[in-house]
Amino acid sequence: MLEPTAAQIRDEKIYRKLGLTDAEYQQVVEKLGRLPNYVEAGIFGVLWSEHCSYKSSKAHLRKFPTTGPQVLQGPGENAGVVDIGDGLAVAFKMESHNHPSAVEPYQGAATGVGGILRDIFTMGARPIAFLDSLRFGSLEDGRTRYLFEQVVAGIGGYGNCVGIPTVGGEVQFSPTYRGNPLVNAMCVGLLKRDEMVTGTATGVGNPVFVVGARTGRDGIHGATFASAEDPHEKERSAVQVGDPFLGKLLMEACLELIASGAVVGIQDMGAAGLTSSSAEMASRAGGGIEMNLDDVPVRESGMTPYEMMLSESQERMLVVLERGREEVAFEIFRRFGLEVANVGRVTDDGRLRLFFRGEVVADMPVAALVDEAPVYERPIADWKPPVPQFVPTTLAISEAWMQLLAHPSVADKTWVHRQYDTSVRASTVLGPGHDAALVKVPGVNKAVAMATDGNSRYVYLNPRRGGQIAVAEAVRNLAVVGAKPLAITNCLNFGNPEKPEIMRQLSDAIEGMAEACEALGTPVVSGNVSLYNETRGVDIQPTPVVGAIGVMDGIEHRVPSAPKSVLEPTELWVLGREDDSLSGTLYGELVCGGPAGDAPYVNLAQEARLHQLLQQVAGARLVAAAHDVSEGGIAITLTEICIASGIGAEVEVADGADAHGWLFSEAQGRVLVAVTSANADALARLAATFNVPARKMGELTGETLCVKLQGALLVELPLNELVATYEGAIPSFFVAEQLTATH
């Protein structure tokens, strides 16, 4: 195929197909001082795409606090890095792979995991854990079951093979995600504090290498077509295919190369492949890069410069080495059987210049490509969710309880996480099923705590408060297990930014998140924005997902979500302000058929005190277990504690509270703890010093769950029935399929 000429691109408006608007094309022409050729127009198209440039969100992202004494690397690099003491640091980031996963769920999810993995080891960090935040439609829907099954298999397929444990995350189900599932993958890595490397191309004359897999024709324009009108038709060929075996070898080779000290800068070729990695590395260094595309190892003959620059073939990295130390790289990559090719060099003229067959095929200012990419202050209009204001209590308590327990968002997720290797690397102290995961740091008595969270219903009802809750809940989960929260990463999954009310959701949610980050002392050190999450014009509920990181010194202080065994009298206490509002709850969604009311209560000052208290409680080893009150309310939190410890409970509704509301409220800032009677007084005293309300609500006992209202029995549910409902809910959707598969 003959490539269109520069004039044709202008006259036939071919640039539109490359992702540029008319106005953007004009800007490109001005910046170049001439018409861009096909390669150049394609490169501008991907780098100025929403995915690479954050043009709609950039202005708002500036609201996030990004600094703190613990922050070693904030946003703008391949991953954020925080100090965890003892000369050690943690690199982490979360990234979305929503659009590819909607089309090709196995590969979409697998390459999401592979991509975030490379972002982490690129910093010189040894990856130690994955977490995945997933959102799907309703499991009654056949296509949703297919997407769910394949996404889980894809995550396992990549993560298990590279030998990094998947230790946590969450899965939620809501009709809002039917045509647009969310797949957000987070990776956490460990490094020595003074051995961090970055994606910077410095040192004029230093050689530039492409290492790892060969470049093929897969995934061309994956970054641009995220907003196609009918993504299902258009994106199929833009989905990349992952090779975890190659990913594992590449990780080992790169970590060895970085350890050799020969690396000046290194970057993953993720979205927009060779284009974004070279332009971004040059931009960070304020310099330029020159590449000879004849030297790029390709998978097939006849590839054009356009295809090479825009390919999103997986498992490739761009590396700048110190001149004269090339032999180190050759030795390492040869040993692992990987490609290594010197494709160019670092320059100081601030240009990205590409040669092919002796000719200059592209020559553009790096600043125009990256730093001067357009930033849009898109119009913002009011957002008023079309929902009922009040939640009627029309469901009987026992009925609501069982329905909530069977809701796939609440029900047992063993079906998911037993498909993930959760214990490889032999360092998982707390894995899936606890409020936060804890992964031990080798050689010291220290663990990294990690959790993800994000409830779209709250953000939909009230973006600002919902944003606050997303951060508060993720960070609270760290404190619940006894860790000290340090920082967060996030994935902002929103609808179409060209709609003013969606921009309101985005802007307000970011504001709320920023407020919570300030209040809780957890700055944002990395993140990702995924816009255009819509199906046939209908946007998903706004879903900011937060990944929080903390540290625990002395793993003997860890607090599990339920006591392993109950050998002495154990009381249940609720820490935090009690509440009986059904606003914004999952109960409300069941009764009203959709979100209802406002987002639940949250108070950031109280939240911060609660987190302090929880760390003290853990440090003093006062409690046998602690579990956050979240979706489904106290009823569900209590049930989960009882199921995990194999014992019933007897509890009393708070004085003067409405029983429905008290059981099912999702007000934030509440944690249930199991404490032996011997320690209960000490717990109450400690809570008082932090000015956190604490009440004994009952005890762990018997084989049923009993709720009393002013001493009278309100509801009693047998534990074995609760177990059957909780554990059976998700597998029940797959029973028929399994039978057909095995016979």
């Binding site: 070898l249 037993r418 490889v424």
Partner: protein, 234 residues
């Protein structure tokens, strides 16, 4: 004692195995790249878990052609201990150091969970520290762990008491609930569960420790015996 932990391209439990060996026995554990051709320096060999060569073609099917496998066979013939865990077990069956084969789990899914194993034989160098019939808790993490063998092989395995462990609740459809088997001489053990992930209090089980301890003690006694007889190490 000196242990070799073999690293194939794609192995990912090599560090875990080395950690367990050092932590539990205090012995030296060396990571040995798959192109090694001589293992005569080592007292024991561990083929760790992972996805050697990406499990492409069939788990363990490509790794068996690695140069190191010939060396493993030579040392096994000399009577040295060889422990194959998970992917290591698959490599051992593919290399015919152990009979049978490991196929895709009957549930067609990867399974990672704590399992209860029943100790069927405590007369081997790997299991001497366990009691016969004892139930131990060791986690599994595999997609292709369904042990199969023909009836003659199974009968022979049973007759020779070469089934080392069975699952209390079968997680993958293995024939006769088999989780781990020994070779005829008793110096090669392959098992799907991961004993190296059950060696510390915080790992939720410490039942894997005794496997490494049994091996350590056996090697020490064997060495003492050789010393007492005055014969040089071959």
């Amino acid at each position: 004692m000196k242990w070799a932990v073999i690293v194939f391209p794609g192995s990912n439990c090599d560090e875990d195995a080395a950690f367990a060996i050092r932590e539990v026995t205090g012995d030296e554990a060396h990571l040995i790249w798959h192109d090694a051709r001589d293992l005569s320096d080592f007292d024991a060999i561990v083929l760790p878990g992972g996805f050697s060569y990406g499990d492409y073609l069939r788990s363990g099917a490509i790794a068996r052609f690695s140069p190191v496998v010939e060396a493993v066979k030579r040392e096994a013939q000399k009577g040295k201990l060889v422990l194959g865990i998970c992917n290591g077990f698959q490599v051992l069956t593919e290399s015919h150091l152990l009979p049978g084969a490991l196929l895709r789990n009957d549930n067609l899914q990867f399974r990672c969970e704590m399992t209860e194993l029943v100790v069927e034989n405590n007369q081997s160098p790997f299991t001497a520290d366990y009691a016969i019939g004892e139930r131990i808790r060791i986690p599994i993490a595999h997609g292709e762990g369904r042990f199969v063998a023909d009836d003659t092989t199974l009968a022979k395995l049973q007759a020779d008491r070469r089934v080392a462990f069975t699952y209390h609740a079968n997680p993958n459809g293995s024939v006769q609930n088999i989780a781990g088997i020994l070779n005829l001489q008793g110096n090669v053990l392959g098992l799907m569960p991961h004993p190296e992930r059950a060696v510390m209090e915080w790992m939720d089980s410490v039942d894997g420790r005794r496997m490494f301890l049994s091996m350590h003690r056996y090697m020490k006694e064997a060495r003492a015996l050789v010393g007492a007889n005055g014969s040089a190490n071959s």
